[in-house]
Symmetry: C2
Subunit: 250 residues, 2 copies
């Protein structure tokens, strides 16, 4: 379908087309389309723009990632289709790796996403190897399969479009978890240290810029950002923004 | 994927599986999965239950359908996959037909949905014929393609999971439009005479029962239901219910 770039919801429509293409080519799972739709609804309720609470979360996320000894970016089918390039740019800036991690797991899908990332930058993606795989405890889905040298040994994980189970398990393992989730009511939103309630396509470029801005700041400066950050407050601001949008319509 | 029937969200998970199956078999469009996801998000915000405002809308819908001279049920890929049987039961009760009408139109999909309905009841579905097709004005999508003997000449249309464009056009053509839409902010919700803000799988059995209850009432009784019904009020109640849910979390 041809999308008029002047359409008020062009970004959303273009993303839909990308995902449908992703399903046809075995990169996105069909259930990923449903998850995308849920996100669309929340994005609509957030007026489809990056709100102040998301900007504060992005700043805290940048500080966490810069302070981490071994940060890693987790990527799934939807995030790869929607913004693989942004992942590569952020991974380069942080000098870290990207690991494919799927809820609707299949080896073929993992390989396809790894190839997609490799075609953009051969260095940044952690290619899965059987002997490197470990199973994280307390995760019911195949999200539990991770690589020792990747999420396994990491101390800070960026988890966009995550499921609640794994987010909770990663936090329990003492990892710092930065989630990108449009639903401020989700378990992921609740359990992550930092929850960016925003559309992944809008917030990743902002996260990149924030990391760049903070990269040369000293440790104390970054710690101060983290110490003054309150994720519960951010979630509440997101909930209030949705209410305000609904109130406007009343 | 096997779904535990005791899972708190079993209905939602079963429906997801049905839709994914529908895509694989060419009945549902991939974009239908995204639309389903949007609905899921709103259903979640409505606590996944039929709320009092939806019950009032269902009653008004039953009255409109019973008062109509030529009611018709419009069905698309998602609604066919999720509740074809309920459409048949309601069409039988009203002695009316079901017409397939698709946003992501393809002849093959129309045929497949017609076959699915025919296999359940050979009488109820209006089989599309080239010479019967007309194009409704002011509808940009292929939703404009309808049959003269179906939606074309109808005076009351049940449009579940509708797009705003067509809803508006049908209302403009003086038809009574009953929409089922989980998003109380949508154009469909706004323009329909009656908007049932509820999950289609929950509200169709209730609509069936309501039609059955009202079937033997006289015309004045039904008119009284319609006259005392205020769709704007219903929409506002739906918006307030979502706000209340968000407030609970704050």
């Amino acid at each position: 379908m041809k999308i008029d770039p002047k359409h008020p919801r062009a970004l959303s429509l273009q993303n839909r087309e990308k995902l449908v293409w992703g399903v046809k080519n075995g990169i996105t799972s069909p259930a990923g389309l449903i998850a995308f739709g849920r996100g669309e609804a929340f994005d609509y309720l957030l007026s489809e723009r990056t709100q102040p609470f998301a900007k504060k979360a992005i700043r805290a996320a940048a500080a966490y990632l810069l302070l981490a000894k071994k940060p890693i970016l987790s990527i799934n089918g939807n995030s790869a289709i929607l913004c693989a390039n942004e992942f590569i740019r952020i991974a380069k800036l942080l000098n870290c790796r990207i690991e494919v991690n799927l809820f609707h797991y299949s080896q073929s899908r993992v390989k396809k996403i790894e190839s997609l990332l490799k075609s953009l930058d051969p260095e940044r993606v952690l290619i899965s190897k059987k002997e490197e795989k470990i199973i994280l405890p307390e995760i019911a889905s195949k999200r539990a399969i991770v690589m020792r040298e990747g999420i396994g040994n990491s101390d800070c994980v960026l988890v966009p479009l995550e499921d609640g189970d794994r987010c909770q398990a990663l936090v329990k393992m003492q990892k710092k978890v930065i989630a990108i989730d449009l639903n401020p009511l989700s378990r992921t939103a609740k359990y992550a240290q930092v929850t960016i309630v925003d559309n992944i396509c809008r917030c990743l470029p902002l996260l990149f810029r924030e990391i760049k801005d903070l990269k040369n700041k000293d440790k104390r400066f970054l710690e101060e950002i983290i110490n003054s950050y309150d994720n519960n407050k951010i979630i509440n601001e997101a909930l209030r923004a949705i209410c305000a949008k609904l109130d406007d319509t009343l």
